[in-house]
Amino acid sequence: MQSDALVLGGGLVGAATAYGLAREGLSVTMLDEGDVAFRASRGNFGLVWVQSKGDGRPEYAIWTRRSADLWPSLDAMLKEETGVSTFYEKPGGLHFCLSEAEMESRKALIARLHNVHGAANYGARILDRDEVHQMMPGLGPDVVGGTYCEHDGHASPLYLLRALHDGLKRRGGRIVAGAGARDIARDGDGYAVTTPAGTFRAGRLVLAAGLGNRALGEKVGLDLKIAPLKGQILVTERTRPRLDMPTHVVRQTGEGSIMIGDSHEDVGFDVSSSSDVMAQLAARAIRMFPFLKDLRIVRSWAALRIMSPDGFPIYQQSKTHPGVFSVNCHSGVTLAGSHALALAPMIARGELGEELSAFSARRFDAAAN
């Protein structure tokens, strides 16, 4: 089976890139895992989030902002082509602080990011207690302030994933499930990828297999030091519209459920939901929004974020295996705009743009020296 491009991984990162490649006119085959994958996409919180991204790595702040700017077009394209709504909204987003100390460190972060984006361009501002309570009725008294950024928004990760799969298919792409890549070998000018569902060939490969990229990278001369970071999410039953905009730990979905997130646990490949972390998430959410106490949790889940040593993405073309690109990141919803509409065209051209040069894994070799 020969295509122009093979995308290894059918999560949000792989699907957005594959969809973008198909838009560029390439014939694309996306090789997906089976039904039970360590799928970070299913555990994504659904934020399209700009305001805190890129501290210490201005290129990431800019890349994230670019994605947020591309999101409205991506959403419109997907809706038009597939009829699937991702429930994307861009009302801006709020981050809360529960203590003066949190407030101070938040202010410092905002100041640093102002310097990256330029004050006029950043769109984030600091809110004192009165302002934040005015902007978001229903907040608990423990909230002492926060920050608001007009470029923030949210979308349904699950409908986004479905729309991307659907859009890829409608553009002639192939999706093969149960086809987790086992091996990659050179094949003439291109590559052959062995999977349980057969062998697939293409001149261009995109490694988007999440944590699986680490092992795949070794086969193509890429040293990808990525590790799992567990995050847990709680979801309530549906309720009437309560929240006008997403916040960094609580958001209301298009269907009316409230999602509660923001746990970070370094626990290896363990995706069980632990009751103590669930309880902490619940307690913190109620401090922010006391009305939540009367809602019921109907689901919880845990997923593994893909973390590089510095937490920023790795985008890299293999030196030893030209035409093999690797995409490693968390925040698959936020970055979907960039992946589909900025990264994919670069891969289609065969060269990553200058703006991604800071994201090579070689930055970690330099740190080690």
């Binding site: 039953e237 309720t239 009316g256």
Partner: protein, 96 residues
Amino acid sequence: MPQRIDGSGETLRFTFEGREIAARAGDTIAAALIAAGETTTRASVVSGAPRGPFCMMGVCFECLVEVDGVPNRQACMIEAAAGMTVNRQKADEVAA
């Protein structure tokens, strides 16, 4: 119409949508409602379509009602008590 096989014996009263319902000690809310001819307990949160008790054993979550102001309670898992105020679970007023 529903009937009780062992005659009368309803000793407690609660209200459902303002209507007085007679129940026996040990009746679940759902059983007392069915005995009183009330089969609709909630509106679907998706379409608003009417729903009623289906499994009677706590599995299906179709019999959700509001009990004394607390929404989304399973009528088949809660025993009726005198003076309870029970209302249908309305789709747009979940956790109002």
